[in-house]
Amino acid sequence: MNTPAFPRLSRRRFVTGASAGLALAGLGLSLTSPKAQAKALPPVLSGNQFDLSIGYLPVNFTGADRSATAVNGSVPAPILRWKEGERVTLRVTNHLAHDSSIHWHGMILPSNMDGVPGLSFRGIAPGETYEYQFEVNQNGTYWYHSHSGWQEQTGLYGAIVIEPKDPDPVAYDRDYVVLLSDWTDEDPGDVYAKLKKMSHYYNFQERTVADLWRDIKEKGVARTWNERQMWNAMRMKQSDIADVTGYTYTFLMNGETPDSGWTGVFKRGEKVRLRFINGAAMTLFDIRIPGLKMTVVASDGQNIEPVSVDEFRIGVAETYDVVVEPSGDQAYTVFAQSMDRSGYARGTLTPDPSLTAEIPDMDYRPLLSHGDMGMAAMAGMDHGGSAAGHGNHSQHAASGGDHSGHNMGGMHHSMTGMDHGKHSMKGMDHRRHGMHASSVSDKPGPAGFGSRAEIHHAPSEFGPQVDMRAEAPQSGLHDPGVGLRDHAQRYGRKVLRYGDIRNLYPTLDRRDPEREIQIHLTGNMARYMWSLDGIRFADAEPIRLTYGERVRITLVNDTMMTHPIHLHGLWSELETGDPAAIPRKHTLLVQPGTKISYLVTADALGRWAYHCHLMYHMPGMMREVRVEQGGRGV
């Protein structure tokens, strides 16, 4: 039977005299009183009526007392268990000193229930209660979080588990939520300001003179120069993997630090379902459980054909359900290392809480390759792979079938793409005028196979706000991602790729897309500016969809970061090559310098948010998607 997940009782958390409470008393605002002693967190709430109270909570994850943003006095927020087919009512009361909100991430619901201030509703003012009510017409693993300010970074995130109406196709005896997050003792506003002032502030894994010396010894001066020449000329850094790192972050698993660790107990012979949720603000995690194969059974809440893997990457806001069958006589470490290897979250799966499992070393620190700049893959050019100097050839071996049009020509264009100055003034004007620059093609290819459209860089992409453009982006479908590409060869691990995912059920909407919208993820790393098509959210027009239409969105990543892109209210149906079994996702990772396509059926009217889910990218890298009644579509 399904056992709700309870993290273990002991917890490094101070719940003492609250400085936050004192200060707030001065403001004349009420506050959910922290409990006098540590308790099991997060609690599980089930049913269809919920009272959620957002307030401050004194916490101590690192040895320093801090104030977190909590729901019902819990960080992470309580696990909500719903039943498919029921109507849920959630009364959310805001006890903070400023506006708040809760967004039900991945839920298909009316737009005024989506919880995005400025789009769905006005937000929840201090002292006010907002009543969310909607029908639950889906099942699986989702999550919820604040969509106001930086509250998600400071603790306002929790899991949603929806029991299916029909028998669950996944067989398991016990399930646990494994919610990953990143905690900083800093004020998130300060983190953002630091990134703007010095974008490499948190990167303490840059290449040093010693790395240069080792490269020269191993490869000689000429090859070392050639490999680094492009990066230096472009003023980019190969070590630029994560904007915010373990330097400030403590990575949490179900609210537990790596020191304390989360513990999940199982009985001999049980199949355990782990519901992984990445509730971090900025951290992509690579997850494995040494000694156990993981069978991935669901992605973003949706059942998929089971895939057996040793390791998978979970982007911010994604969810993956895996089933493991541990043997009954040992403990296992659930290991979630950050993509840049600056730290990890961990837990223990064990038949006996007294057993411990070895914590593995983190893997090598990845470096970006030329492919990550959206340059054509050319044999002998791509040696970036790893800090230890190993090659990085697996990406190209793996990305079979996606080489069309990648040749010397693409390389040549990349070089002209480096001429940033050329169009700058023009680009700046476009930024100010906030034109809608996405290129739209009216003759897209058939559903399921992705884009065949040419890559088009809009005039708005040229200016001081954009530091690079991918000229020959490859498909990101079959690429395991930065830092995972050689794990098969090096460690013998099978790593999940998007191309491996097939929906368990047949595609519901079998129509071919009527049109294709190409959107570029853009930014300037050094200035720490993020945008879509070179236009920040504040200056942008909404993307308009007609109610009922089937449209393809192709994302082209013109940056060197891996961006998790989240579309609210509508499914993002990832085109993985099989039109009959298109997986539905709510958040997609777009790897550096690549493109990826998905289909959207505009079946929900209203104003929806569409953005990068990396917290410090989101303010700029965001759009409103407006689904309106119109003449076209069904």
Partner: protein
């Protein structure tokens, strides 16, 4: 005090600020103050204290910028130069800055209009190229470039070069036309935090051409190699 700021001042500011929108404000007003050099230079005579700093305020693409360059000996300014500039991003890596410069010391004071191209050149060189136009048709050019070599993640060796060229002789302030002086520095800093890095280093200066003649006539050194110890800080 910190708590007062975090729980009273910040929320008050947030309430006062515009409505929190879906994505928040991607381009907040920021202020950054930076002390590039605050150092004691060891010479044969009195050891001067050099200060080079900047303060900017503004948004991603548009900023107001103040720059200070000074040298004090025995508590008196031998050199004090101030610049106030408007800075606008013109390309991904370059800013164009226009404004005014005032040399308070050495006396008599001099005023200049300033046009500066400041940014990051390929191969990661920080560059600042300035054109100054002063009263009585005075002109000057200055080129500053700095590079950072990471010996470790926190131990950073930073070579820096500065050149000054003048269009006319200005004997009152000791500059002659043509290449007037070159300054080259090599500083090794340790970033205890990103914001706080003590350093040691060498600073070499040499005057050329008419400027060297003027200095010689005044009995000043034409060439000087100094050992420096200082602090680099920003907020």
């Amino acid at each position: 005090m910190k708590h007062f700021y975090r729980y009273v001042v910040l929320p008050a500011l947030l309430l006062w600020a515009t409505q929190v929108y879906a994505g928040g404000n991607d381009d907040p007003f920021l202020v950054m103050g930076k002390v590039d050099q605050l150092e004691l230079r060891q010479t044969e005579g009195d050891d001067p204290v050099a200060f080079e700093g900047q303060l900017w305020a503004g948004h991603d693409l548009n900023k107001l910028w103040l720059k200070v360059d000074s040298e004090r000996v025995d508590g008196d300014y031998e050199e004090l130069e101030l610049q106030a500039l408007y800075s606008r991003a013109v390309t991904p890596f370059w800013n164009l800055q226009v404004g005014a410069r005032r040399d308070i010391k050495p006396e008599p004071d001099r005023n200049w209009a300033v046009l500066t191209l400041q940014g990051l050149a390929p191969y990661q060189f920080e560059v600042e190229a300035s054109l100054f136009v002063g009263e009585s048709g005075r002109t000057a050019l200055r080129l500053v470039s700095e590079y950072e070599m990471l010996l470790t993640q926190r131990l950073i060796l930073s070579p820096e070069v500065e050149l000054n060229v003048y269009g006319h002789n200005d004997p009152d302030t000791g500059v002659g036309s043509g290449l007037a002086d070159v300054q080259a520095g090599l500083r090794l800093r340790y970033e205890m935090r990103r914001e706080f890095a003590p350093y040691i280093g060498l600073n070499w200066q040499k005057r050329y051409g008419n400027s060297a003649d003027l200095a010689a006539a005044e009995g000043d050194d034409i060439e000087d190699l100094q050992f420096v110890v200082g602090l680099r800080m920003w907020f």
